[in-house]
């Protein structure tokens, strides 16, 4: 998902006897559906796990602006351009909500940004694929934001208050993203043959990367077990992936597009679709930094950060000068 393969304590979930009294009380609050707030006591593992997860989520929102920003200047109409700008601007907002939520755990935004730039923290694998044609704006909104929604909706109920509240805001804004993407796909699929081919090609390229967004199967993962006990993670990766496939297949049919998976079939017994797993070796190599756009994405982010430094410094200097003038006058 936007946060993939988040490491927890790695020790597995502690039994009641292994927990200290404080940990037991903490777990009881979570089990009772209470929200944990920044000033509350929390285990270090919970705090660190959340910093990794919220940080990775925030980075994904920010880096996720790049593949779409690529097409803003070349949107086919002024209206599409305005739609896309609004969408990309929302993603910047999502990044900010999430950095703020992470900051309540005692890490600064500057530290998080440094870790993104140094490669110490990751962002979602999906943003390391290029956006080659305008149809990719449709596919990204439809599939990538669609997959994000699938993951973010249950996270509105996550146990950490600031994270849950950020998710509520994000989810409210997210459905416009998916719909504007689907709208682009509809326009292209109702267009001429060449446009339809572009739409199909975009689906072909983004289908498996979208499935990878949920991360590899984690049904046996000790990290996920702990995250789920803490209600930092609400569903397994496989559950969400299945839900995504089941919801997306009819949408593709509506568009008259073919999902690029010959094994895809509705399983009459389960009511779910059977489908081909994505190539997990590709996923792992992207996480290692070897995807088609990893280097470019980080370069662009680092460059924006460095080249914006004089603006940030200037604003601070201006604010300080004004404050000291005011103090002198007062």
């Amino acid at each position: 998902m936007y946060a993939q393969m988040i490491k927890s304590t790695g020790q597995g979930v502690k039994s009641d006897e292994q927990m200290t009294e404080q940990e037991r009380a903490f777990q009881a609050r979570i089990d009772a559906g209470e929200k944990i707030e920044p000033k509350d006591w929390m285990p270090d593992g919970y705090r660190n796990n959340l910093i990794r997860q919220i940080g990775q989520h925030a980075h994904s929102e920010i880096v996720g602006q790049l593949p779409e920003a690529n097409w803003i200047t070349r949107a086919p109409t002024l209206e599409r351009k305005a739609n896309l700008i609004a969408k990309v601007q929302d993603e910047a907002g999502h990044g900010l909500y999430l950095y703020c939520a992470a900051e309540t755990l005692g890490i600064s935004r500057d530290e998080l940004v440094d870790m993104l730039h140094s490669g110490a923290m990751k962002y979602s694998s999906i943003f390391n694929y290029p956006t080659l044609t305008w149809a990719d704006m449709g596919a990204v909104g439809w599939l990538v934001d669609g997959a994000a929604i699938m993951n973010q909706v249950p996270l509105q109920r996550t146990s950490y208050g600031p994270y849950a509240r950020a998710m509520v805001r994000i989810c409210k804004e997210e459905s416009f993203h998916q719909r504007q993407g689907f709208h682009i796909m509809m326009a292209m699929c109702n267009g001429n043959q060449a446009q339809k081919r572009m739409a199909q090609d975009a689906l072909n390229r983004f289908w498996f990367p979208a499935l990878m967004m949920f991360g590899p199967s984690d049904k046996d993962s000790v990290h996920s077990a702990q995250s789920m006990a803490w209600k930092i993670k609400m569903n397994t990766n496989d559950e969400l992936r299945q839900k995504f496939v089941d919801e997306t297949v009819p949408q593709a049919h509506y568009l008259g597009l073919t999902i690029p998976d010959e094994q895809l079939v509705l399983n009459e017994d389960t009511g779910n679709h059977d489908f081909t797993e994505p190539d997990w070796s590709e996923f792992h190599s992207i996480l290692k930094g070897d995807g088609p756009c990893n280097v470019e994405r980080l370069e662009v982010r680092a460059k924006a950060w460095e080249e914006g430094a004089w603006v940030r410094d200037g604003m601070m200097a201006h604010a300080e000068k004004r404050a000291s003038r005011k103090a002198a006058a007062g």
């Binding site: 929200k35 707030e37 000033k39 509350d40 609004a86 601007q89 929302d90 907002g93 900010l96 909500y97 703020c100 900051e103 935004r109 805001r169 804004e173 940030r312 604003m315 601070m316 201006h318 604010a319 004004r322 404050a323």
Partner: protein, 77 residues
Amino acid sequence: MSHRHVGSLHAPDGEMAIKNARDVYTRRNEGVSIWVVESNQVLASSPTDKGPLFEPSNSKVYRHPTFYDIPDDVGAM
């Protein structure tokens, strides 16, 4: 007009904080005015203190008008 907390942000000063808040928190017309305050100026109670802070008002039902039974004959009151 009641203001409610919508979120935090970074800014060099109050003026910029208002501009940033407008961009970050009111993209869909969610506000008619913005208050900003430096977070280090905010003193907050802890959610775990909610018992001692708010429990006492729970037991004082006589602070609500419905506590007092007034016959209907009296008319609107």
